[in-house]
Symmetry: C2
């Protein structure tokens, strides 16, 4: 048995106490973490400088350096976030269902923490604090592996967070930082120690995690999102939505990769879409029906419609109907986020019913797929799983439920056979 399993067992033990701790204690712990981060900011900034220097030396691109930097501004943002989390309603013990089986015999379905969560994420130290905060608020133990470029910053952050919660009933054991690829391999094998894995990162990495563990995984590998422009779309509104969906942050998983355009508006709409995207420097791969209407576009191959560009590049296809758009999305998409732009309510209803994706949008940009924009507080990831949590995952996705039945000596025998009592199953307000 790997000795890391011993550390994981410590997380489980502390998480068990954390799960049973009061709302107020977890609130105070969040505020203590916020205070400690502010009090130790110089040490944190110093470690972050060392990480940044090493990254610059290694020739890491500017965009990644920007995410790696832990600035005064980011510190303020995460401490504000922790305070906001402390003010959210306690997610533990919420009654989701309540039913009287028979007078005085009451069944409740109530929420409880999942247990211990293993989270693997990119080189963003502010994400570490957000994730730790979500775990603490929801009563879950957390094992964190951040991107290697942020190693020193993350190590210091975990140290400060641990110290801040040391005097609480659950102690400092609920959070554990791990650092190496070897540690991640052990994490993937930690069935029984870890209840849920949430990997973020490249498509290949997320698939690697999904393929190499028996622990349940929440997340998404691909983000091949489509926007379908229906024949009845308001074209003046559609153009800025399409531009936003493609270029507002092209590297995001919720950026649109494929535009599907109804054949009836192809001659009028495609030249406008072409001009708007070209102005932003987008390379367009158009199918044979779209190509004549899109000057400067290159011919699309089948592969383009399976590609997550994550760049200023997109595919365009002309379709004959809403159903054809749905079929294309079912066969090429990744069940993440897809949108229809239309003025026809029946077409919108058909699209939302027929597209089997976590997020299905009408008349807006696919880029809205995000826990903060959805009003979930923060998010730990976006799930394309159909089970448990789907779409952006916030506090609710970190909870499980228990069925609690309160009786007064009832036996099943009394409720059995032709002479037995029957259940009245009366729904009660939760």
């Amino acid at each position: 048995m790997d000795k890391l399993f011993g550390s994981f067992a410590t997380v489980r033990k502390s998480a068990t106490v954390l799960a049973a701790s009061s709302d107020n204690e977890r609130k105070q712990a969040l505020l203590a973490v916020a205070q400690a981060l502010a009090a130790h900011k110089e040490e944190i900034f110093a470690e972050n400088s060392r990480d940044l220097d090493a990254a610059k030396t290694a020739g890491i691109p500017d965009a990644i350096l920007h995410r790696l930097a832990f600035t005064e501004e980011k510190l303020k943002s995460v401490t504000t976030g922790l305070k906001e989390l402390s003010e959210l309603r306690d997610p533990i013990g919420l009654t989701k269902e309540k039913r009287e089986l028979d007078p005085g015999f009451v069944l409740e379905k109530r929420t409880f923490p999942i247990g211990v969560i293993g989270m693997i994420f990119e080189a963003r130290p502010d994400a570490l604090v957000q994730i730790a905060g979500l775990a603490l608020r929801s009563g879950n133990g957390i094992i964190l592996k951040g991107g290697k470029e942020a190693r020193l910053t993350n190590r210091k952050l975990v140290e400060v967070i641990k110290e801040a919660t040391l005097t609480f009933s659950f102690g400092a054991g609920w959070i554990l930082g791990i650092e190496s690829h070897e540690d991640v391999d052990v994490l993937l094998k930690a069935e029984g120690y870890v209840d849920l894995l949430i990997p973020r990162g490249s498509n290949a990495f997320v698939r690697h995690v999904m393929d190499n563990t028996r622990i349940p995984v929440i997340g998404h590998a691909d983000g091949i999102c489509a926007t379908y422009i229906d024949s009845t779309a308001d074209q003046d509104k559609a153009i800025p939505v399409c531009v936003d969906a493609k270029i507002q942050y092209p590297a995001a998983c919720n950026a649109t990769e494929t535009f599907l355009v109804h054949k009836d508006i192809a001659p009028s709409f495609l030249p406008r879409l072409n001009a708007a995207l070209k102005e932003k420097g987008v390379t367009i791969h158009a199918d044979s029906s779209a190509l004549p209407h899109m000057e400067g576009a290159v011919p699309a191959t089948e592969k383009d419609f399976h590609t997550e560009y994550l760049a200023l590049e997109c595919a365009v296809k002309v379709v004959g109907s809403v159903q054809e758009a749905i079929d294309h999305i079912q066969n090429h998409g990744s069940h993440h986020t897809d949108a229809i732009l239309t003025q026809d309510k029946a077409a919108a209803a058909r699209f939302t019913a027929g597209v089997d994706s976590a997020d299905v949008f009408v008349n807006c940009s696919t880029r809205f797929a995000d826990g903060f924009r959805f009003g979930l507080g923060a998010e730990v990831g976006i799930s394309t799983s159909k089970l448990h949590a789907r779409g952006p995952v916030g506090l609710e996705g970190l909870m499980t439920t228990k069925w609690i039945l309160n009786g007064d000596g009832q036996t099943v025998a009394e409720y059995s056979g032709p002479e037995g009592k029957s259940f009245h199953h009366k729904e009660l307000a939760t």
Copy 2:
């Protein structure tokens, strides 16, 4: 590629139409199935006779023959069940959350069918009808593998059900019966064709499924349930509850296998428990503290506390506190169903918070863990998973959700940067 995959693809195609079908159409289909079963009952009974004859020749025990028999009474029970299902509220399209992100910009979390479900179950033809009914009501395609003793009955049932739904928009393709172990092996490999597996059966079989597929699995392997009798328990009520929990149906997964008794009441309670269980023919394995108070009991070994007897046999242990009971359950139980018998509300609260099981009961028999008793209609299984569905799984467990965002041309760019609009995130009634 196995040719069975072609049949699975047909299920998916039909399920896609089924998922988008109206409430009324699915209601009519359920009633048509009920009618067809009644109309073809003689053929079904004839096939069932052949299955029963073969089972008797093979020396199958009476208890299993009883479950295998598809009688007039069972036909009536399943057709009534189908009618009741048709009267339940449509589980598709329910709004679980509704939030205005900004005036006129509304996000909804709505329920949709999971897709295609693979169900493996025991030799009970009535279970086939119940499961098919749940699938039809919830808009899911279903692949069914029943116990081999019921092969001919099941084949006929699937044939009748298919014929009954042939004229509906989704046709007969939504249901598929498979028969051999080889077919099950193909099913386990059918990632992409099947969204969820629900295996029922022996511990070893369920583990085999869980270990040999990448498709999500809902179910439970072990059912090592405990009943803890606290020092403040009402002993007069506790005795019949303990007896019920052990003997009302000893082969059930929710039967109690272990009794934990608080040390303060051991001298008074254990002799009474001993007498009551002995009267019912239960063999008792008692730990060294319990043994002196339980005449005729045999000494328990550590293995007894990890054993699912599924028979008139149980283990008994004396514990010093509620916490010790919780710790025992965490280390020996299977997170299925555990009960506390107590008059002390604080002890009950501590137990329900501390025991990490799907069902945690207070002052009643563990045998109540059941979808029908819980008021879920029927159940497809009992889940000990902490994700998605936990405990008895009814219609709700067969649903997933989509986030549907209805806009009017909103872009993320408008909501970005220091000058950007902000979200107001106003909760709306669902």
